[in-house]
C-alpha cells in the first residue's frame, strides 16, 4: 500500500514553546489514522501545520511524494488537503448553501459536488437557504464536513468533531466516516474522545506534550496502554520537571 502522507520528524513552535516535538507518521491511501491525546498535547497544532496554517520549525510534510511543507494553505487545498477546523468555523453571514459553494469554489476533480453532499446529508436541501447560525451544533458540523468534502480532498483532516456535541449526534456523524473513506478519501482524525477515535481508526497515534507516546493498531492495544500514553502516567516525574524549567 502506498503512503499518501508522510510526516517526518516535525517540530513546531509557538513562540518559545515547542508544541510538536519530533513527530513522524505515515498515512497510507484509504486509511483512517486517529491522533489522540489530552488537551494541549499538540493535536490541533499538528493538523493545522499539515493544513498550512502554522509553519513548522523543521521536518517535512510529504503528500504523494511532493514536499508540501512550504505551500500556503490554499495551495494545499488544491493538492488535496482539506481541514474541518475545530469549532467548525462556518461563514457566519452566509446560508448553508453559500458555505458549500465557497468550499466548492476551488475544488479538485472528484466524486463530490454540492448535489452529492445533499445526498449524503438528506436534511440539507430543505434548509439550504437558511443562515448557518440557525442550525444546531450537529448540523453546523455536518455543513463544515460538507464544505471540506466538496473540494474533493485526498485527505480529510477532522479536528475535534465531537467537541460540544451530544453523543447521539456524534454517533451519527461518525457513522458517515466509512462512506467517506469508501469514496476514496483518506482521513486524519484528531480526537480528545479516545474511545471514539480508536473505534473508527485503522491505526492510532497518541501524543503527549507534543511527543509521540504510543503508536499502534487499535485491536492490538489494551485500554491501559492507551491510558498511559494519553495521561503520561508511566513517564518519570523528571520529564515534567524539565518541562517547567
Amino acid at each position: 500500500m502506498s503512503q499518501l502522507l508522510e510526516v517526518n520528524s516535525l517540530y513546531v513552535h509557538h513562540g518559545q514553546l515547542c508544541a510538536i516535538d519530533d513527530v513522524s507518521f505515515t498515512l497510507p491511501e484509504g486509511e483512517i489514522l486517529a491522533i489522540v491525546g489530552a488537551n494541549g498535547a499538540g493535536k490541533s497544532t499538528l493538523l493545522r501545520t499539515i493544513a498550512g496554517l502554522h509553519r513548522q520549525t523543521s521536518g517535512s510534510i510529504v503528500l504523494g511524494g511532493d514536499d508540501i511543507g512550504k505551500l500556503t494553505p490554499n495551495r494545499r487545498v488544491r493538492r488535496g488537503i482539506s481541514l474541518v477546523p475545530e469549532g467548525r468555523r462556518l461563514f457566519a453571514s452566509m446560508t448553508l448553501e453559500e458555505n458549500l459553494l465557497v468550499g466548492a469554489s476551488h475544488a479538485n476533480e472528484g466524486p463530490f459536488n454540492v448535489k452529492r453532499i445533499y445526498e449524503l446529508f438528506d436534511w440539507m436541501p430543505a434548509r439550504r437557504k437558511q443562515s448557518v447560525w440557525q442550525l444546531s451544533g450537529g448540523e453546523q458540523q455536518a455543513v463544515a464536513i460538507g464544505r471540506a468534502l466538496v473540494a474533493n480532498p485526498r485527505i480529510l483532516l477532522l479536528d475535534e468533531l465531537s467537541l460540544g456535541l451530544a453523543p447521539i449526534v456524534i454517533e451519527r456523524i461518525y457513522a458517515l466516516i466509512p462512506e467517506i473513506v469508501a469514496s476514496g478519501v483518506s482521513i486524519l482524525i484528531v480526537e480528545q474522545d479516545v474511545a471514539q477515535g480508536v473505534a473508527v481508526a485503522d491505526r492510532v497515534h497518541c501524543l503527549l506534550e507534543g511527543k509521540t507516546s504510543l503508536v499502534g493498531i487499535p485491536s492490538e492495544l489494551t485500554a491501559q496502554q492507551i491510558d498511559r500514553a494519553y495521561f503520561g502516567a508511566d513517564l518519570t516525574p523528571t520529564t515534567t520537571g524539565a518541562a517547567a524549567s
Partner: protein, 290 residues
Amino acid sequence: MIWLNILIQGTLIGGFYALFACGLSLMFGVLKVINLAHGDMAVVAGYVAVFLTPHLHIPEIWSFLVVVPIFGLIGYIVQRTLIQKSIDRDPFTTLLVTFGLSVVIENLLLEVYSANGQTVNIGAIGYESWHPGSIFYISYVSLGVLGTAVLVLLILQMFLSRTNTGRLIRAVADDREAAQMSGANYRHIFGIAAAIAFATVALAGIAYGMMTQFAPTSGGVNLLFAFEAVVIGGIGSLWGTLIGGVALGIAQQFGAHFNVGYQILAGNVLFLIVLAIRPQGLFGRKTALS
C-alpha cells in the same frame, strides 16, 4: 417647506457621502483596515480626470470610464504591496502607513498642482437644476450622484451575494482562515476588495469635482464625512452606509439652516451622539466594535 428642502438637500448630499464611504466600509469589512488615505485617492482621481482627459479627446463627463478602471488596478497593486506588507506586521502599522501616505499625497498634490481649486468641467448641465413647484431646486448633478450611489450600492450588493468572487470576499471577511481552508488566496481576495474600494472612491472623487471645487486638502474633510456616514449607519452594512450618509447630510443641512458655520459641526455632533448612545451604529452589529 424649508424643512422639506433641508430633507431633500440633505438626502442629495448624503448620496455622495455614501458613494464616498462604501469603499471605506468594504475595505474595513474585508481587510479590517481603515485606509486613512482613502479620501486622498478620491482627490487624486479628480486631478487625473481633470488633467488626463483633455489628452484623450473625450468629454470630461465621461472621464470616469477611464479613471475608474485605472484606480481599480492601482487599488489592487497598492493592496498587494504596501497595505499587505503593513497588515503582515500588525493593524497598528496599517494606520501609520496609510496616514503617512495620506499626508505625503496631500502635500505632493499641493506641490504639483498648488492649492487652487479645480472642477471637472461637464458644461452647462453642471449649473442647471430642476425646480419642482418653483419652491426648491434640485441640482441635476446632485441627483445624478445620488442615483449613481444607489446604483453602485445595488451592483455591489448583487456582486457580493450572487457571484463566486463576491461570496469569497464575504467568506474572507467572515473568517480569513476558514476561507483559506476552502482554497481561497486571501491576499488576492484582499486585492479585489481594495480594487473595488479604490474604483468606487475614484468615482466619488470625480463626482465631487462635478458638484463643486476640490483642492489637495479636500480628501481629509471628505474622509471624515465618509467615516461619520459609516459609523452612523453601522459598521459593515452597505445600505446602512447610505442611510448614515443621508442622516449626516440632513444633519449638516439642518445646522447650516441656522448658521453656515454650524453645517459641519451639526454632522460631528450627530456622529458623537451616535457614538455615545449606539456605538455599533443604526444598522450595525455589536460584534463589529471589538
